[in-house]
């Protein structure tokens, strides 16, 4: 059944038991992103190491569907502790997979539980849900490192 392909067990687990949820101090930047078509929203904070090169924490709060909430939870699992460069590569890989209409299945070594969202890519209406937290993270990072290198290395447009 198609629906079970989309709502993989791992997605439902992240939805029911989100990781790293809640807003924490300290943080280098905070953003608030909404999905204007459905009203879902996330407030997301990013904390960086003293040298600004490592993502030391991502904390968030918001409301939204299972897909947006679970994908934000997966984001924090994958990216906290990564260097800024690696974090941006992870974001780029997730964005590529989720925007592929199901043609790219995703690399588990890069995306971890994120590969469970490959099925979501087949539903264009849900792609924005899956990207809500990830785009918020990217924006927060850009705000925390206004002159930061690597922000456009992934070929993505800057804000």
């Amino acid at each position: 059944m198609r629906m079970e392909q989309m709502y993989q067990e791992v997605i439902l687990d992240h939805y029911k038991h989100p990781h790293h949820r809640g807003l924490r101090e300290p943080f280098a930047a905070q953003v608030h992103h909404v999905n204007p078509t459905c009203g879902d929203e996330v407030t997301l904070r990013v904390a960086l190491s003293a040298d600004g090169e490592t993502v030391t924490d991502i904390s968030y709060d918001g409301q939204g569907c299972s897909i947006s909430q679970a994908s934000t939870s997966v984001l924090t699992d994958q990216v906290i502790g990564q260097s800024v460069g690696d974090a941006l590569k992870t974001v780029a890989a997730f964005t590529e997979m989720i925007s592929s209409r199901g043609n790219i299945e995703g690399d588990e070594d890069v995306l971890g539980d994120g590969i469970a969202f490959a099925g979501v890519a087949k539903y264009p209406a849900r792609v924005k849900c899956a990207l809500l937290g990830w785009m918020a993270f990217k924006a927060a990072l850009a705000e925390a490192r206004p002159m930061g290198e690597g922000l456009s290395d992934d070929g993505q447009e800057q804000r």
């Binding site: 059944m1 198609r2 629906m3 989309m6 709502y7 439902l12 078509t37 459905c38 009203g39 879902d40 929203e41 409301q63 939204g64 569907c65 299972s66 897909i67 539903y123 849900r126 849900c129």
Partner: protein
């Protein structure tokens, strides 16, 4: 309400081929999203095709036979649609959609060539129930003119709270929706019109969700302006209607300007054609008007009383079925009195998007989100609802499938 009139639903459904489509989950389509856009019967598609293959020409221009036939078809369309909503022919203006209709009124009401124009210190009144299309144009009018925007809040069951606001002489416009596109509440039009008139204010009715679902007579309702769209009433997209009382349309300056809406033009200035042409600048939507007129005749053929009572039966069954599910909270009146088609709800523990996804898997199309009424959702402390909305072609069997699908969503996310 009179006893339900038995419709020949098999025959009606045969007019809408899309309704037999089998969807990606392997189930037949149950289309419960007519509040967003309705499906179109063959009669509408055939009318457009017939027009385009025999009579297509530029309306109101030139002197050849096709131009005459096109103009006749366009103006006959206006007459048929006017008759359908209880208006005179010259009181209907064609626009590209209801949103444009509401923008048109909001612009011309702020034009100081109109002797009752909205200005600084005046008040524009709307309601917390409104679709963004009947809110933002008024916010913008207030911004342009220095007027103040006020609104009737809504009650806990999703109706206009009439006790919440007292109108005074400063109020120049009262704009409100006939049937809420979220809660389904039907506004007390007569009461609101009488209150507006008592202070000399003009009324603007958003009739998008009422015209397709009940008999409408704008003259009897007594509103000054009304807007509705073609695509929600079995007609084409790209066509909307603005109704305006004859005296008012006659006194108002134009909104969009250019060809077709003029009388005489020099390099310095122009004078304008009488209404409704004054408000129809540029080449009009000819085949869309022909299609919309066919939709009006189609609904008229069934009978709007019959449409209304059939949909009331569907709404009653939906409310009853949904309220039998403990996790459901209806956003809107839970009774059938003064209630139209949309039934919006939230499910404890399941986001509206996820409800919509489970239903989609069953072939059931509902709307999820804020339905272009974000302030109303905020009022109820929610970001999104799932909404089932009906049209004449829906069946009780489809309502049963909806209820079963919602139960499946509850189980799936439990």
């Amino acid at each position: 309400m009179t006893a339900s009139v038995e419709l020949d639903l098999t025959r009606i459904r045969a007019d809408f081929p899309i309704l037999s489509r089998v969807m990606r989950g392997g189930n037949q389509l149950a289309y419960l999203d007519s509040g967003a856009t309705s499906q179109k019967p063959l009669a509408v598609l055939d009318a457009e095709r017939e027009f385009l293959t025999t009579s297509n020409g530029a309306v109101h221009r030139g002197a050849h036979q096709l131009m005459e036939e096109s103009t006749d078809a366009y103006e006959q369309g206006r007459a048929d649609i006017a008759a359908f909503v209880g208006a005179d022919d010259d009181e209907l203006v064609f626009t590209k959609n209801a949103t444009e209709s509401l923008n048109l009124v909001s612009y011309v009401l702020g034009d100081n060539r109109f002797d009752r124009a909205v200005g600084p210190g005046d008040v524009i009144v709307t309601t917390e129930l409104e679709h963004h299309a009947n809110l933002i144009p008024w916010q913008e009018l207030a911004r342009r003119t220095g007027a103040e925007l006020r609104w009737y809040p809504v009650t806990d069951d999703g109706r206009i709270d009439l006790d919440s606001l007292v109108l005074d002489e400063r109020v120049k416009v009262v704009a409100f929706t006939h049937h809420s596109n979220v809660t389904g509440a039907i506004a007390p039009v007569a009461e609101l019109v009488s209150r507006a008139r008592a202070v000399g204010a003009l009324t603007v009715l958003d009739a998008c969700q009422s015209v397709p679902h009940q008999p409408i007579d704008f003259h009897a309702l007594g509103v000054d302006f009304a807007a509705f769209s073609g695509h929600k009433m079995l007609g084409p997209t790209g066509i909307g209607v603005l109704y305006g009382r004859r005296e008012l349309l006659g006194a108002l300056p134009p909104f969009l300007t250019g060809g077709s809406m003029i009388e005489t033009v020099t390099m310095e200035r122009a004078t304008y054609a009488p209404a409704p042409q004054r408000f129809e600048a540029g080449t009009p939507m000819t085949s869309q008007v022909v299609g919309l007129a066919a939709a009006a005749r189609y609904l008229r053929g069934i009978g709007m009383d019959a449409v209304e009572s059939h949909e009331a039966e569907l709404v009653a069954a939906t409310l009853q079925g949904l309220m039998g599910i403990p996790q459901v909270r209806i956003i809107g009146p839970t009774g059938t009195e003064l209630r139209g088609s949309p039934v919006s709800f939230v499910l404890d523990g399941v986001h509206a998007h996820d409800v919509g996804q489970v239903l989609d898997d069953e072939g059931i199309a509902v709307r999820v989100g804020h339905h272009c009424a974000a302030p109303l959702h905020r009022r109820f402390g929610i970001a999104a609802t799932a909404r089932a909305s009906f049209a004449v072609y829906n069946t009780l069997d489809e309502v049963d499938r909806l209820i079963a699908g919602v139960k499946r969503a509850v189980e799936f996310f439990a």
